[in-house]
Amino acid sequence: MKFQVNGVEVFASTGGRPFDKKKPLIIFVHGSGLTHMTWVLQTRYFAFHGYSVLALDMPGHGLSGGESLKTIEDMADWISDVIDAVGYKEASLVGHSQGCLVILECAFRFPKKIKTLSLMGGAGAIPMNPELLSLAEKDDPKAVDLMMDWAHGPAGHFGGHPVPGLYHINTGGMLAKSRTIKNTLGIDFRACDNYKNGFKAAKEIKIPTLSILANGDKMCPVKEGKKLADLIDGSKIEIIDNCGHMMLLEEADKVLNVLKKFILTYFPIKKN
């Protein structure tokens, strides 16, 4: 659906079901240079099982208007604005990669609004490989090719997409190339590289938090994810085998299963 946030049109997938303000809200925040489509194998379950879902296209990404936000802090404020714009007081947040930094900062800034955090392939800081950052800022498509290489685990390089007929690496690459690379990936990578508040924010988080990590993740390795999780009070960790940073596509079912268990426990649908 399309709606306005701060006067700019925003697109979000509602998971194939109509957006219903009576249902609890889960917001999905994509990673650098990507779009709402990375979440297609997680969002539809929740949309069909009693939740209202918004898988956002961040400003300047996918089908959303505006320009890309330049800092993780601005993105965190923007997520809070989204919650206001759709008329909610609270939401559960799910993030992938850069999206983890965004929702972590959002929960730090707006603790009363955020009910749970699910961090997929997250870390307290995501310093960028200088060459990758430079390629993205120069609008070089090689940045996307490198990201797709590093973001998929050894098995994911062969394919084997859970949805018959889809090829991971080309699909992800096409998403990242759908807008001008320097204006999406370039700005996002720089925002990640500049963000320094992750570990401080983590220490302040008091809401249920789940870290979903992948044992083949080269971009946000398990040890970095654990370092962050250890700082969050009561944080839970799930490690997914046989995949890399794009675990949400490479092992979509396993990721959905742990996410379901966590959200249904800590952000259940209230029965009348």
């Binding site: 109509p18 489509m37 069909f48 490198l146 394919g159 018959p164 007929g165 046989n242």
Partner: protein, 444 residues
């Protein structure tokens, strides 16, 4: 920067030859089976009611019924998508069903297509006679008439379709230019690249939005199995205009799903499967999918040999006293020679059309007397194949349509195989000798 440092920023995603052997398959998820298993089954167990609902709601990936998808077929689909540089693919029972499914996913009654005039005869009939019965009309344009494609576009045009190298006359569409025309009009370019395979050309890299193949031909190579496929490029923006409401608006057949919003770069394939396969059902059998996979494993090796034999054959035919003319993009005076160098850098393909001196009678004698080359209605077999199109594949056409499609009565269509070239040449000598004295041979 040292070479070592340069290498550090090169993506290490697998390359063509590796993908042709491995893409789409993980042995560890299939009992460690090194070879792709043949899932000879119609249907798949649901874990519980929730799991069944999730599959029907497209909440999660998986298989329900082999008309819609099958694990063996899915490996083939993913492999071809990987090789073509596409986001997704859908395999079908034949190349013709891939084209039909593509058009039925794209168009509704009242729509229009701009179509290259030089196509396989069956495809011509589909566009000329069958699709109008579904309310889809077509305007045919000669493949070299790039400006003609632009002029033929109407308000209700939903796409441009053509064979990159036309069958059987070897005329080449200026794909990058025609892609631009299509995109300026807000419609996709659909390319049948059966003759090229992704080894010779990846149309998506040159602007095509959907690629279709008869996998029966070079992709499989062995001439044992019928199969087709459509591959999505993932770049086309279905939401840029209001031409494709069935892609962009809520679809009643799937809980109000908007394919374009939900699936973006794979929306077309998702719709073709969810709607087209469900409602028309031209599914590929798992056995045939497996057979095609065996062929794809050696695609690059075979294509190199096909092309080198074709080049030798062109040289032989050009200098032969019984040959009136030769059409192959490798010939310097072929009208599309320069375009072919750009679009087909790894080889110009193994389809040759040539005219035999003595016309139809000589052509018949030639075909009746070659022994190694097989006379049949197929192309892209590992074996050398010959046919006289005017009396076979394109025989449903009247004289005017034949001419418009670039065919002549003396034309022989040759699909060069990978036999030892000396043996093919010796066989052709026998055919040409017979063609020079047809009456005598036919009385023997």
């Amino acid at each position: 920067m040292t070479d070592k440092k340069k290498k550090s920023t090169d993506p290490k995603t697998y390359k063509f030859d590796t993908l042709s052997l491995h893409a789409g398959y993980q042995p560890q998820k299939n009992a460690g089976s090194r070879q792709v298993p043949i899932y000879q089954t119609t249907s798949y167990l649901f874990d519980d009611v929730d799991h069944a609902a999730a599959l029907f709601n497209l909440e999660r990936g998986g298989h329900i019924y082999s008309r819609i998808s099958n694990p063996t077929v899915a490996v083939l689909e993913e492999r071809v998508a990987a090789l073509e540089g596409g986001t997704a693919a859908l395999a079908t029972s034949s190349g013709m069903s891939a084209i039909f499914l593509t058009i039925m996913t794209l168009c509704e009654a009242g729509d229009h297509l701009v179509v290259s005039s030089q196509l396989y005869g069956g495809t011509v009939n589909l566009f000329r006679l069958t699709l109008p019965k579904f309310g889809v009309k077509c305007t045919f344009v000669k493949p070299r008439d790039t400006e003609g494609f632009k002029k033929a576009i109407q308000k209700n045009t939903k796409g441009i379709f053509g064979e990159l190298v036309g069958n059987p006359g070897n005329e080449i569409m200026n794909m990058p230019e025609i892609a631009k025309i299509a995109h300026d009009a807000g419609v996709p370019l659909i390319i049948d690249a059966t003759y090229q395979t992704p080894y010779l050309c990846k149309p998506i890299d040159h602007g095509a939005d959907i690629v279709v193949h008869s996998l029966t031909k070079w992709m499989a190579g062995h001439g044992s199995s019928m199969a087709g496929i459509l591959v999505e490029g993932g770049k086309f923006d279905w939401m840029q205009n209001d031409k494709f409401p069935t892609m962009t608006k809520p679809y009643e057949g799937y809980h109000g799903l908007s394919f374009a919003e939900e699936f973006g770069p794979t929306a077309f394939t998702m719709k073709a499967r969810a709607e087209g396969m469900r409602d028309f059902g031209p599914c590929l059998s798992p056995q045939n999918a497996w057979n095609v996979l065996q062929g794809i494993e050696t695609l690059s090796v075979r294509m190199q040999k096909h092309c080198s034999n074709a080049e030798k054959m062109v040289e032989y035919l050009l200098s032969h006293e019984s040959v009136a003319w030769v059409s192959h993009p490798s010939v310097p005076d072929h009208p599309d020679h320069d375009l072919a160098k750009k679009l087909l850098p790894h080889g110009k393909g193994s389809m040759i059309a040539f005219g035999i001196k003595g016309g139809k009678e000589a052509g018949e004698a030639f075909i009746n007397n070659v022994k190694l080359a097989s006379h049949l209605a197929n192309v892209g077999d590992t074996r050398t194949l010959v046919i006289h199109p005017a009396s076979s594949t394109h025989s449903q056409m009247d004289e005017a349509t034949l001419k418009f499609a670039g065919l002549s009565q003396d034309m022989i269509r040759l699909s060069v195989g990978i036999e030892d070239f000396d043996d093919i040449r010796n066989d052709f000598e026998t055919g040409f000798r017979a063609a020079r004295r047809p009456r005598l041979v036919s009385n023997q």
